[in-house]
């Protein structure tokens, strides 16, 4: 193992530690509410701020970095695992705090996202990270955003201290079953990874709100289905243990017989999981509603459209009367459009013209809504028929014909339901 010594350039150390941190997806800066100190620097903005977008098109908001990539654990999916022969480095708390401040003053970043490999033992690592954060908070009077990774196995006191200093904390569960953890991350268990999150839940005073914590689950390194993954996520939301679950498509960085051989990382699956997660958190969907008989979300269409096609008796939704909750269940209508529709209804008759003016795209929604009882599409138009046929064909071949004949989804649904067999 090549350890980069103290005298090495900050550039090199930063490169190594940023590179090792890049696979962590849970890196947003929203939700913080901290005013600046009159003699200090920094505050946090509720809405979150992106400071740039990296070559992968992802928002860069925080200085996402590891304190060290030296790790005593041997998780098979991780670049920092003990057995890997990669350059190792450690940033001293003083130095990391200084870089954070200098980046912050130049408005490169919104704050710090600090994680770490497990160096010596969990408490030692957590203390090292806390030293960095304390220098920032106490010496520089830095009130910018700080996200701290809680090191599994660290003592309750250190977890409490981390929580009191950070705007957000997280502990990555990584895999959603005990069995998979045993196989791929032998030093870890669900209990161990959940512990810091549970401590945070206990001490977070606002019991009715979700704790300002998050976690990440890797998708595709182990055989769990989307349903298993989302049921874990939904349980975490219900118990208010985390505010957000991040999903990270498995990207092979190591070779190991226990890891799946994949041609491409499952980015589309990751995307569908985020969409489903969004439906759980903001659209009032229940977990069971997101799945038919399959255990995985369909990749060919988003989970809302998939739900709509399985629940045609819910449609058509009449735009002039539907409630907000009904409107947001229509594919293609989100909370913003639903609000606009409701507001526009107060000022007179809703017409297709008004909807157009409001820039509400009916491209997808038109198949699922009526306006004063009138359909908003003509089924004999080739493109529209093609759209529906494509979607329906994914479910049931016979549905295609029946749809083309009746020209209306819900009519087709009530007439042909047995054929569709959803």
């Amino acid at each position: 193992m090549q350890v980069i010594k103290k005298e090495s350039s900050t550039e090199l150390v930063l490169k190594i530690l940023a590179n090792s941190a890049r696979y962590d997806n849970s890196c947003s800066s929203s939700g913080g509410r901290r005013e600046s100190h009159p003699y200090g620097i920094g505050n946090s903005h509720l809405a979150g701020i992106c400071h740039t977008w990296s070559a992968d098109g992802r928002c860069v908001s925080l200085l996402k970095i590891l304190q060290t990539n030296i790790c005593k654990n041997n998780c098979k999916y991780c670049i920092c695992r003990r057995d890997n022969d990669v350059p190792r480095a450690l940033l001293q708390p003083e130095e990391l705090a200084k870089i954070t401040i200098e980046f912050y003053r130049r408005n490169y970043i919104e704050g710090l996202f600090l994680s770490s490999g497990i160096y010596r033992d969990p408490d030692y690592t957590m203390e090292l990270m806390l030293r960095t954060v304390k220098i920032l908070r106490e010496r520089y009077l830095f009130n910018g955003y700080i996200h701290l990774k809680l090191i599994p196995g660290a003592s309750r006191e250190l977890v409490e201290e981390a929580f009191s200093l950070a705007d957000r904390v997280s502990s990555n569960l990584e895999l959603s079953t005990e069995e998979s953890l045993r196989r791929l991350a032998p030093e870890k268990s669900l209990g161990l990874l959940m512990k810091p999150l549970e401590i945070v839940r206990e001490i977070y005073k606002e019991k009715l709100r979700k704790a300002p914590a998050s976690t990440q689950i890797i998708i595709g390194a182990s055989p769990e289905s989307d349903k298993t993954i989302l049921s874990l996520a939904s349980e975490l939301y219900q118990k208010k243990i985390v505010r957000r679950v991040y999903y990270s498509a498995y990207i092979p960085v190591n070779k190991d017989k226990d890891l799946p051989a994949i041609a491409e990382p499952p980015f589309l699956r990751e995307h569908r999981l985020y969409q489903a997660d969004w439906l759980l958190r903001f659209y009032g969907f229940k977990l069971e509603e997101l799945f038919g008989e399959e255990e995985n979300l369909p990749l060919e269409m988003d989970p809302k459209l998939s739900w709509a096609l399985r629940n045609l008796d819910f449609f058509p939704v009449e735009l002039t009367r539907a409630s907000f909750e009904e409107l947001i269940r229509v594919p293609g209508i989100g909370p913003i459009s639903a609000k606009k529709i409701i507001q526009a209804r107060r000022f007179g008759e809703l017409s297709e013209e008004t909807l157009k003016k409001l820039r509400i795209s009916l491209k997808r929604a038109k198949y699922f809504v009526t306006l004063r009882g009138k359909l908003l599409y003509r089924a004999n138009r080739r493109t529209e028929r093609a759209f529906l046929n494509k979607q329906l064909a994914l479910f049931e071949d016979k549905g295609k014909e029946s749809f083309a004949l009746t020209g209306s989804l819900w009519k087709a649904s009530s007439m042909m339901e047995p054929l569709w067999d959803f």
Binding site: N19, I49, W53, A55, G57, G144, F347
Partner: protein
């Protein structure tokens, strides 16, 4: 066809609105030029320069406040800041309609309101974008300086964010296009126009630029690279002052 030119100040903008309201014969096709954005407009053959008369501006504003309440001031100021959006006519039409129908400002079905609201949203998006994309450069032994070229005149609504964030820093923000400058020096805030600002700054000398560029390169996940997505988020027009794209 005659063009109208105003000096790009709020007073000038109010004078312009007042002039347009009194000239029923003008159509919405008449070109309007903001001198600050288009100094070249003075070279036009036929143009009428709208004077920036503070008395006219005050009186006009007072009339509008009486009609619609004091919030109209903030609205007008905001629309003034949306200086590249060409919304003078929709704004005038709404003011006209509002004389009959007070709650027109909330009427999302009105075509002109839709245009105004869309512009407003765009303005705040632009401001939010520069909360993140503004870059400060350390001048040796001097203050931090942040040049930028926003689409709208967001600086008057942008600087409070940085004053709150950096109460103890000395910094300067320059809207290079409009030659509008904000300074926060020894805790004192000033916002002013500077005509003839031609200072050459060596922005590349800041020692943290290379560290930032290293970080920026390393943080991208190679398997996810998508320059298209990156371009849609960081359009080329804003990259000039972003060292990570140099």
């Amino acid at each position: 066809m005659e063009s109208l030119i105003y000096d790009g100040t709020f007073v000038g903008f109010l004078n312009l609105l007042h002039y347009l309201e009194t000239r029923q014969d003008l159509t919405r096709h008449i070109p309007i030029w903001n001198k600050r954005l288009h100094p070249e407009a003075k070279g036009l053959l036929f143009y009428k320069e709208i004077p920036s008369d503070i008395e006219v501006a005050y009186k006009y504003l007072e009339v509008l406040i009486k009609l619609f309440g004091s919030h109209i001031k903030d609205k007008l100021f905001l629309y003034y800041l949306c200086d590249t959006a060409k919304i003078e006519w929709p704004l005038l039409k709404v003011i006209g309609k509002a004389r009959e129908k007070r709650n027109i400002w909330q009427d999302l079905t009105d075509e002109d309101i839709i245009k105004l609201q869309a512009t407003e949203r765009e303005f705040y998006r632009e401001r939010h974008r520069f909360y993140g994309l503004l870059r400060f450069f350390q001048i040796p032994e001097g203050p931090l300086i942040a040049p930028f070229e926003p689409k709208f005149n967001v600086l008057p609504k942008l600087y409070p964010h940085f004053v709150r964030r950096f109460p103890r820093e000395n910094f300067i923000i320059v809207d290079v296009r409009r030659k509008l400058v904000f300074t926060h020096l020894q805790g004192v805030n000033q916002l002013f126009w500077v005509d003839g600002l031609e200072v050459e700054l060596d922005l590349k000398g800041d020692p943290f630029i290379s560290l930032w560029r290293d970080f920026f390169r390393e943080i991208a996940v190679p398997e996810r690279v998508s320059f298209k997505r990156q371009r849609s988020r960081v359009p080329l027009r804003v990259r000039k002052f972003l060292p990570e794209f140099w």
